[in-house]
Amino acid sequence: MTAEPLDTALIDEGIGERPWQRSLRILVRRRTAIFGLGVVLFFIALAILAPLLSPYDPLATNWLLVRKPPSALHWFGTDEIGRDVLARVIWGARASLSAGLVSVSLALAAGVPLGLVSGYLGGFVDGTLMRMVDAMLAIPFLILAIALAAFLGPSLANAMIAIGVSQTPIFARLTRGQVLSVKHEDYIEAARAVGNPHHRIVLRHILPNIVPPLLVQATLAAATAIIAEAALSFLGLGEQPPDPSWGSMLNTAKNFISQAPWMALWPGLAIFLLVLSLNLFGDGLRDALDPRRG
């Protein structure tokens, strides 16, 4: 009879919770993070369900509807060749979200192994790899992405590769730092003492313990990648016309800013909302995964 209230009290105080339960509890308490997550999920749903949700074909032109302001038929107005802006904003979510997902996945796939090897082996390998990382970090992110996209050729796929390559050193540096901070922990020493091979120590014992900061960085990097994709498309180096992307829509819209300001308003607002939401969620996730908080 007395045990039940005692258990509840313990759970309320956060005692006896598993780490993921504690993180989830902190995350759920952060309203801004939940708002961010909600908006990100909304955009993901929009991108997946674009064929069902889009009111018109995003590529269909209509010379009778050139630069029409928002109306009951075209909620976000129409563009310079009569295409529905709402339909293009909905379909444009696909380019932005895939840029976020693919670029960050590429950066993780290249940066994490580099950081693991560098941090674990140390010495000459670490010194050489980190100087390579320094060299990549010395070139401003967007300038490196522009240069890579320029030499690879303008397309959404190449823009994603360029962004992913540009973000790789950030993940390599972060992973290395995390490996250095855990590699002398008792449990790693113990794993070594019982004769585990190096690859097993790195993959089974170190990697799972450094996932939280990588997860936070991946969320924030996705926000950066979305802005970068929009920037490259704005410059004409990302998604190519007539396929819709928020950046290329803004590129066209800037030429019609006095005649059709709605062309610039909605794609820009979509980028801003999605990036803000990812940053809010990333900040919340960082607090939730920080073991010093609770």
């Binding site: 060299a135 010395a138 401003p140 300038i143 522009i146 690879l152 802005i227 704005f234 610039a264």
Partner: protein, 313 residues
């Protein structure tokens, strides 16, 4: 101190080596024969032959790299295919424009970011702190090219207060020069201000809980005096050095800002070069940017040690 300086300066060389390999390697990404690709749409055989000879494309890769580095060390960054002028001259010509824009943007960033950071730290955990933190997040999340377009809509198209685009050199008309740069500088400074605010806030929070600040308070000094004379002077050390590292963000932002406001600077040079397949210009701009960043990083590191008495002793 001397050992630190020697070690820090020695670290530059391997970094510069890898930067040079990376930038030289960009050329290898070109599909097919680089000379044919670089020659543009006209595919003039004379131009192709000239490029093949100029870039030693018949030589093995390591030889080409060594020859390229030799040229770069002597200040030869190649020649623009489109404008037929040395890349070095083009960069020197555009640098003052971007320099002025970046300088003004930094002023905007400091004017907004530092006071906001101080206020957020002094009013820690209050509505003002949360408000300032949200505004910073807002600044980081805002695509600056969109902000630029929206400002043009408001201040140029609707109100007619400021010119929408273009650039007037300061020696021609200082007033017009500043009028053309007000919006671009604000757009560029906005994102840096958000980062500055975060740095200042966290540095101030750390300093405000230090013993010497408590002592200053115990002596009966006013809040303003404690914050501005005692706390801020120490908090600004990391802010100044971290501010120097925002250079990269400033240059990345300048590429887009110059594009939106049609400012003929460094950023516009690289974008135009990309579209004209003027690869020597792209390589030259990237190389100069990386070199400047590495040097600024070095200066920031040395300044940090020199300013901080605990490290310089």
């Amino acid at each position: 101190m001397t050992a630190f300086l020697v070690r820090r300066i020695a670290l530059i060389f391997p970094t510069l080596f890898f930067v040079s390999v990376l930038i030289f390697g960009l050329q290898q990404l070109l599909p097919g024969d680089p000379a044919v690709t670089m020659a543009g749409e006209e595919q003039d055989p004379a131009v192709i032959a000239y490029l093949r000879q100029k870039y030693h494309l018949d030589e093995p890769l390591p030889v080409r790299y060594a020859l390229w580095v030799e040229g770069v060390v002597q200040g030869d960054l190649g020649e623009s295919i489109r404008i037929k002028r040395p890349v070095k001259d083009l960069i020197i010509e555009k640098l003052p424009v971007t320099g002025e824009l970046a300088g003004l943007a930094m002023l905007v960033a400091i004017a907004i970011g530092v006071p906001a950071g101080i206020l957020a730290a002094v009013k820690h955990d209050t509505a003002i702190d949360y408000g300032a933190t949200m505004v910073a997040l807002w600044g980081i999340s805002m695509p600056n090219f969109w902000l630029g377009i929206m400002l043009i809509l408001l201040f140029s198209v609707t109100l007619g207060w400021l010119p929408a685009s273009g650039f007037v050199p300061p020696d021609e008309s200082l007033k017009q020069n500043l009028l053309t740069l007000v919006m671009p500088a604000f757009v560029l400074g906005n994102a840096i201000a958000a980062v500055m605010m975060r740095h200042t806030r966290s540095a101030m929070l750390q300093v405000l809980s230090a013993d010497y600040v408590r002592t200053a308070r115990a002596k009966g000094l006013s809040q303003t005096s404690v914050v501005l004379r005692h706390a801020l002077r120490n908090a600004l050390i990391p802010v100044v050095t971290l501010g120097a590292l925002e250079f990269g963000g400033l240059l990345s932002g300048a590429v887009l800002t110059e594009q939106v406001f049609t400012i003929p600077g460094f950023g516009k040079l690289i974008v135009d070069a990309v579209f004209n397949r003027d690869y020597a210009v792209v390589q030259g701009v990237v190389l100069c940017t990386a070199f400047a960043y590495i040097m600024l990083n070095l200066v920031a590191d040395i300044a940090y040690v020199l300013i901080n008495p605990r490290l310089s002793a």
